[in-house]
């Protein structure tokens, strides 16, 4: 079970809250840090199964956390990192996804409110999957609004695409959209055909292909 987790957050209350939440769900918090340099050191030395990282950290309070996460992933390819932020930007999402190796999450801080979904996202990232905030996906789709293959999708297929881009598996999608798993599989096959992507059975690779498609536009 992958449950060694590192938390990087400068606000004490939120950091403490995250630690309690994760411990309550069976994770083991190996370190809780509050600045960029500490985070980079912790990521490279402790190699946690998953880290939860705030974008803005001391000392500069700019994108310290994001930079540390990217630097650590350069040293340790595929190191799972879940980035939390008060706002989401396609720019950051693209930077995180750029190496195409998965194990990436990018969520709004509000998503912590829903403990079940949040812990689910943490587990997914720890296992090498992706967890993209619905708002990132909404922005991606909005900026691709004039893309013809996307416009050709049916509303249902669009919903499936959104859920898939967020990083959900077929099983999770079927649960969320109240569809059977086989119906979801049919929709995904149709989406892949319409977008001209090579079909793949592997959930994770499939998600990355969709994100790469959306990002390339």
């Amino acid at each position: 079970m992958k449950n060694r987790v590192l938390v990087a957050e400068d606000l004490y209350l939120l950091r403490d809250g995250l630690v309690h939440l994760l411990q309550a769900h069976g994770f083991m918090v190996v370190a809780a840090v509050e600045s960029g340099p500490e985070l980079l050191k912790g990521l490279v030395e402790l190699r946690p199964d998953v880290s939860i990282v705030d974008v803005r950290l001391p000392p500069t309070f700019t994108d310290e956390g994001l930079k540390a996460a990217l630097a650590a992933r350069e040293k340790v390819p595929g190191l799972p990192v879940l980035v939390l932020s008060q706002h989401v930007e396609q720019l950051y999402a693209r930077e995180l996804l750029a190496d195409g190796s998965g194990g990436i999450g990018y969520l709004l801080k509000d998503r912590v409110f829903n403990a079940e979904q949040f812990v689910d996202a943490v587990r997914r990232v720890a296992e090498g999957g992706t967890a993209m905030d619905p708002e990132v996906i909404a922005k991606l789709l909005a900026s691709n609004a004039r893309d013809e293959p996307l416009a050709a999708l049916t509303p249902r297929e669009r919903e499936v695409l959104e859920a898939m881009a967020e990083g959900r598996s077929n099983a999770a999608i079927s649960q969320r959209l109240f569809l059977s798993e086989s119906a979801v599989a049919k929709h995904t096959a149709s989406i892949f055909a319409k977008l001209g992507l090579a079909p793949s059975d592997d959930d994770n690779r499939r998600v990355l292909a969709v994100l790469a498609y959306l990002n390339s536009r």
């Binding site: 700019t62 994108d63 720019l91």
Partner: protein, 496 residues
Amino acid sequence: MPAKGVLRCSDRDAALPQTIGMLRSFGRILVLLALLVLEVPAILLAGLMLLLTFGMGVVFLFPPQVMMVRRLAELNRRLMRTWTDIEIEPPYLPKPPPPVPQPDGMYRSDRTLYKTPRIPAWNNRWKWLLSDPGSWRDLLWLALDAVVKPLLVPLFIVLPARGLRLYAQWSELLLGATTASRLAGQVSHLKRTRNLANDSQAAEMRRIERDLHDGTQARLVAIGMTLGAVEELVDRDPTAAKALLAKVRDASSETLTELRRVIRGIHPPVLAERGLADAIRALAMDSPMDVTVDIDLAHRPDAPVEAAVYFAVSELLSNAARHGNARKATVDISANGPHLRISVADDGMGGADPSKGTGLSGIERRLAAFDGVLALNSPPGGPTTVTMELPRVLPEHWAGELNKMPRWKTVAVVMLWATAWCPTMPQGVVAGVFKVVGFEEKAWFLALHLPEVWQWPTILGMITVGLIMHVLAIRIPAAHNRERLLAGKPVAKVLC
């Protein structure tokens, strides 16, 4: 092009254009002399009007008199500008602003109150014309011009081009801008842009206040009330309390979304985190259009400049997508010396009009704080190109343009400082002291080796030369800095 130089017989190929140039100069001189027909009556009329104004108190004749002289002076400035390369800037002080009514609706002028603005405005205008040195310099120019022109006639005949230039220089002497008038112009320009900047900032603050008051604050009140209800219910009806708590969670999530929108309007987080280049790239990604971004800046500009540019580009891109129905756009930001140049082009249907809608005028107001100008080219049918320039907002050392003098001046100043001591002190003062005291020693003091009659003139000459060198060494950089200061005059007019 000014016609320069004298006709040379050996230069056959150049002879024809030079003859034409000379004929043109003669034509211009004839026009100048013909203007005397206008000027002489104007001088007499102006003299009469001044006499009536100040001798008999017919004060309302003064403004038309000044305006008449100004018109003649302006004509002369325009002619000199087109005929020679001498640009004569008008020296007038800025017009007084229109009178502002008091809270009770009355207009005040000194110690009198008026119901309409007409009389205070007239008073202000009278004072403005009377106190402007430009009015009196114009008058002096007009009076002397009638003498100067006939005096220059011999030169006009022999060397027409030279004569024209000399005449232009004479005009510039009395009609050109003075340091005081330039500074007054700068002050009034700065005052206007400062007011604009203050106004737009105040408007922004009010908008943010409204957003926070109507949105975030109201939602927080609702959350607080619901939590109160939960507190009451929690023992009696835990299920209902739980349902309410879920509602509170949703409400807090909505509040955060709302707050994010407000923050984006104050200062976008990407801009704070990454700077202008990445913030514009993020804008481009969020746009439904295919936006190409090309940013060529060595460093980050100041934060207020970044914010102004960001909001301008953001507004232009959203206009292009929403109203212009564009599919492609390019954003180009580059440094042109210390000036920042931004251009946003799209392939939309064009026909953008700053007078419709507040978007473009809002951008202009924001840019005005930095003396920025906006040029819009949007023919119906497209494409639309908006070019903005913010002068002198980048540190000058970016462009390698330090507060630097030309090399020859620097070399001259260094040489002067290095050598000026020699004639002043040893060859001048010390030699003089030796002579006064009657010292036998001649050492290397040039003056003491000369015959007796030449000794004092040489010593005094040395001291004079040395002092002149010192003065030059101080004056050259000082004059350079003054020119730089004056060169910083407002660039172009603000489009508002």
